[in-house]
Amino acid sequence: MSNTLLTTTDLSISYGAVKAVRGSNLEVKEGEVVALLGPNGAGKSSTLRAIVGLIKSQGAVNFAGQDITGAPTERIVSLGLSLVPEGRRLFPHLTVRENLMLGAPRKAKSDDLFDDLLNRLPILRERLQQVSGTLSGGEQQQVAIARALMSRPKLLLIDEPSLGLAPTIVDAVYQLLSDLRKTGLAMVIVEQEVMRVLKFADRAYAMSTGEIALEGLAADLRTSDEVKKVYLGGAE
C-alpha cells in the first residue's frame, strides 16, 4: 500500500501568458484516495488534464515508475491512468454499450470486466442500447466512470463527480467510488463539495491560484480552520 504510484514535480501549466498552475508537487500512493480541492480557476482540472497529457505542461510527471512527462495520452492510458473528465464528456451519439467498448483497448478481452461493471451498475444494463446523450446526468456520470474503468486503470482521476447532480444521485456515485476503492483502485478526486470528499479521501491537497496552499490527511483538513475559512465561509 505504500508504494508511490504518481508524482508530479514542479508541474506548471500556462495558457498563453496566464499561468494556471505554478510548480505543483503531488504524490499518490497505491490504493490511496486523494482529494484535490480549490475554488474555480485554482488549476485543479488543468492539473488532471496535464497528468494525462491532454494539455502541455512543464515539470515532470512520473507514473508507476515511468517518466510520462510529455507522453501521448494513449500511451499514458495504456500504462494504467484513466480520467473521468469534467462534464462527463460521453460520446452523445454513441450508445452506452459503444461508449463502454471504446473505453477498452482495441485488442483487449473485456467481456468479464464489462459484465462485472454491469453487475455493479445494473441500471446501465437496461440502457445498453440507448444513445448516451439521452441519459440523465447521474446515469451519464455512471457511464463515464464505467468507461474510464474499461482500460483497467491503476489510478482513476475524477473531475467533479458530483457536479450538477441531485444529492441522492451524488450518494450513489460515491457508493460506486467506495466499492471501487475496496478493489484497491487509487483515485484522485477533484470536488467542489469539500466536506463530502474530505470524509471520503485519505489525503487532500488544496490549491489556490495555481499553487498548492495546503496538504495533509483528509481527517485533519476537515477540522482545519483554514479550510473552513476558505471553503465554507467560516461555518461548519
Binding site: 492510458v77 454513441l94 459503444e98 467498448m101 483497448p105 482495441r106 468507461r147
Partner: protein
C-alpha cells in the same frame, strides 16, 4: 407512374453518389475539423486510374478495384505529405492546404495527362437499358444504385459494429476524448483519410462511368455539391451526410424533370434558394449538433 419510377431511380442513383462523397468529407471533418477540398481530385485520380486500367486491357472489375484502392492509398499519402505537417495549425491553414493540394493535383493532371477530357470506354453490357413498365432504366444507373446502396450498408455495418467505426463516430462527437480512450490520434486520422479516399474512389468510379469521360477539373462540381450536402445534413454528422445526399439529389432531379423549359436556366439558383431556406430552418443542418447540451 413511369415518370415517378424514373424520378426515383435518378434520385437514388445521384443521391447515393452524393452521400458517399459527403460521408468522405464528414469522416475527415470528424477527425480534423477540416473540409478537404482536395477530395474531388481523389475522384479525378480514381477516374484516371480506371481509364489506365481499361486502356491497358485489364478486366473491367480489376480496373475498378485498383482505381478504388488507388483512391484510398492516395488519400492516406495526401494526409501524410500535406496535412500531417500542419496538423496542429489553425483551421484556416488546413483549409488553405487542402486548396493547395487540390490545385497542385489539377495542374499535374492538366500538364501530365491532358487538359482535355478523355473518353472512358465502359464495357458494352453496361450501355444497354432495361424496361420497367414504359420507362427505360440504363444498366449504368442500376449498377450505380446497387453499388451506392451496398457501400452505404457496408459503411453502416462498419460504423455500428467495429472498433474503428465507433472511434470515428466518437471523434465526430468529441475528438479530444477519443485520445483518452487510448486511441492513437495519428492512427485514427490516417485511417479516416484511407476510408475517405476509398469512398471518393467508389464515388469517382460511379461518376466517371455515368459521364463516360474524365477530365482534370472533373472533381470540383461533385465535391462542391457534397460540401453543400454535408452542410444541409449537419457538418460532422454521418447520418446527416447520407440524408443530405438524398435531399439535394431529390431537389436537383425534381427541378431537372419538372421545371418549365423557360425557367430551366434558373435551376441552380432555385436549388440553392431551397438550400438556403432549409438552412434558415435548421441553422446547424438537419442532423447538426445541438448547441445546448444536457448537464
Amino acid at each position: 407512374m413511369d415518370a415517378l419510377i424514373s424520378y426515383l431511380v435518378n434520385v437514388i442513383s445521384l443521391g447515393g453518389t452524393y452521400a458517399l462523397l459527403a460521408l468522405g468529407l464528414a469522416v475527415i471533418f470528424s477527425v480534423l475539423g477540416l473540409i478537404n477540398f482536395a477530395h474531388g481530385e481523389l475522384m479525378t485520380l480514381t477516374g484516371y486510374v480506371l481509364l489506365a486500367g481499361i486502356l491497358t486491357g485489364q478486366p473491367f472489375w480489376l480496373a475498378v478495384f485498383v482505381a478504388v484502392i488507388a483512391g484510398g492509398i492516395s488519400a492516406a499519402l495526401m494526409e501524410f505529405a500535406a496535412f500531417r505537417p500542419v496538423r496542429n495549425a489553425s483551421g484556416a491553414t488546413l483549409l488553405m492546404t487542402s486548396f493547395a493540394v487540390s490545385m497542385l493535383l489539377q495542374v499535374l493532371f492538366q500538364n501530365g495527362i491532358s487538359p482535355r477530357g478523355q473518353a472512358v470506354p465502359v464495357p458494352t453490357w453496361l450501355t444497354t437499358s432495361l424496361s420497367i413498365g414504359n420507362s427505360q432504366i440504363s444498366k449504368v444507373q442500376i449498377m450505380s444504385i446497387t453499388v451506392g446502396v451496398l457501400a452505404l450498408l457496408a459503411l453502416k455495418f462498419f460504423f455500428d459494429r467495429s472498433y474503428w467505426g465507433w472511434a470515428i463516430r466518437a471523434a465526430a462527437d468529441d475528438f479530444e476524448i477519443v485520445g483518452l480512450m487510448g486511441v492513437k490520434a495519428s492512427r485514427l486520422i490516417s485511417f479516416a483519410f484511407l476510408l475517405s479516399g476509398l469512398l471518393a474512389g467508389v464515388a469517382g468510379v460511379l461518376w466517371v462511368i455515368q459521364r463516360g469521360s474524365v477530365d482534370p477539373l472533373m472533381g470540383f462540381k461533385p465535391v462542391l455539391a457534397a460540401f453543400i450536402v454535408a452542410v444541409i445534413g449537419g457538418l460532422g454528422s454521418l447520418t446527416g451526410a447520407v440524408a443530405g445526399g438524398f435531399i439535394l439529389s431529390a431537389i436537383e432531379i425534381a427541378l431537372q424533370t419538372w421545371l418549365p423549359p423557360n425557367v430551366m436556366p434558373y435551376r441552380d439558383a432555385i436549388t440553392y434558394t431551397i438550400v438556403v431556406i432549409i438552412l434558415s430552418i435548421f441553422p446547424n443542418g438537419i442532423f447538426g449538433k445541438r448547441t445546448q447540451e444536457k448537464v
